[in-house]
């Protein structure tokens, strides 16, 4: 395993969180992730995740005309996606606390 496996779940959560702020398109999403400090993955990784999240109806997409020319696919969260984000936030803070506890050896 599976730092990749773990990373995927975390990336999922981060994508949901970024999309929840405002609707974004693929490149913007990758750029924001990078801006927050995710450097070690190839940007294209987000697309299989987005495809799956669409299949699971966590996000929906609409095509909008961009200024540059081609139509762009913008993502927004569905109610189900918002729930999923809530769950992720709780899980993540639990995990964070637990891992910190272990590392700091305190009970």
């Amino acid at each position: 395993m599976s730092t990749t496996q773990m990373m995927k779940g975390i990336l999922d959560g981060c994508l949901l969180s970024i999309i929840s702020e405002k609707e974004v398109y693929g490149y913007e999403l990758a750029e924001k992730l990078e801006g927050y400090g995710f450097h070690s993955f190839s940007e294209g990784t987000i697309y299989p995740l987005l495809l799956r999240m669409q299949k699971e109806e966590l996000v929906t997409s609409t095509l909008k005309k961009s200024t540059a020319g081609p139509k762009r696919k913008y993502y927004t969260l569905t109610p189900k996606g918002e729930q999923e984000l809530e769950i992720f936030i709780t899980k993540w803070s639990d995990l964070q606390t637990t891992v910190n506890n272990v590392l700091n050896k305190k009970i």
């Binding site: 398109y25 693929g26 490149y27 990758a30 190839s42 940007e43 294209g44 990784t45 697309y47 299989p48 495809l51 799956r52 299949k55 020319g69 081609p70 139509k71 762009r72 696919k73």
Partner: protein, 249 residues
């Protein structure tokens, strides 16, 4: 006024991805969607000096697989190709045989044709997937496409010989049966063409069958006739394929 500023590498990747997803049996609209999205991403990224690898990672094949795994297989389209090819094989042989009188087929011929058509479809998709996801030399690509063309042909010739030496029950159509089969075939060819929105089957059938039949009315001797009808057949099909390829571009 879309300016193409994409690097050669990215362009190749985009084209390969389209072929890969298509030969994995994915839905055309979904393929178009993801391909456009990635193209857009690559253009934006390259404007800012990123490389193709920064986006798709080191292995295009792995990345294509990841995308493919998240997309549904479009069984309807698969069925469409399957039906077209099977119907094509049968209608072309039926039409060709009808002009020589009442038709009859052995079970081996019928079953064999079905199996070979199925094999041909699977082989086609396999070859396209292979060619699009690996960096093969032109020689090997050419060899694969050559195999793709030669294997079904060889199998059909083999089947032809097998039916001569192995006796299986024969389905006799009789005169009326032949007319009905011919009528059904023509109806089938027309409806398939409308359904699939392509004239490729009737055109191929016509070029395979008509030259020999029409030249039969002339005073040519058998040999010249055979040569000419073969030339017309291949030139005709070739011209049609070129014509449609040009039109679709």
């Amino acid at each position: 006024m879309k300016e193409v500023i994409l690097s050669k590498r990215s362009q190749t990747f985009i084209e390969d991805l389209r072929v890969y997803l298509f030969s994995s049996g994915k839905k055309e609209e979904e393929i178009e969607e993801i391909v456009t999205e990635l193209e857009d991403h690559l253009i934006e990224a390259e404007k800012r000096g990123k490389s193709t690898e920064d986006i798709i990672g080191k292995s295009p094949k792995t990345y294509m697989q990841q995308l493919s795994n998240e997309m549904k297989i479009d069984y309807k389209t698969w069925m469409k190709y399957f039906v077209i090819i099977i119907a094509g094989v049968f209608s072309i042989s039926i039409i060709g045989d009808i002009l020589n009188g009442p038709i009859s087929y052995s079970l081996l011929e019928i079953g064999g044709s079905l199996v070979i058509s199925l094999l041909f479809i699977m082989l086609t998709f396999w070859v396209f997937k292979l060619v699009s996801s690996r960096s093969l030399t032109y020689g090997i690509q050419g060899l694969l496409f050559f195999l793709l063309a030669i294997v079904p042909l060889g199998l059909f010739i083999g089947l032809e010989f097998a039916t001569r030496s192995i006796t299986t029950p024969v389905v006799e159509f009789g005169l009326i049966g032949t007319w009905i089969a011919g009528g059904l075939t023509v109806v089938f060819l027309i409806s398939i063409s409308i359904w699939a929105k392509t004239l490729v089957l009737p055109v191929i059938a016509a070029f395979l069958v008509l030259p020999e039949y029409l030249l039969g009315f002339t005073s040519m001797n058998e040999e010249t006739m055979l040569i000419w009808s073969t030339i017309i057949t291949y030139a005709g099909i070739g011209a049609y394929v070129l014509f449609t390829a040009k039109k679709s571009k």
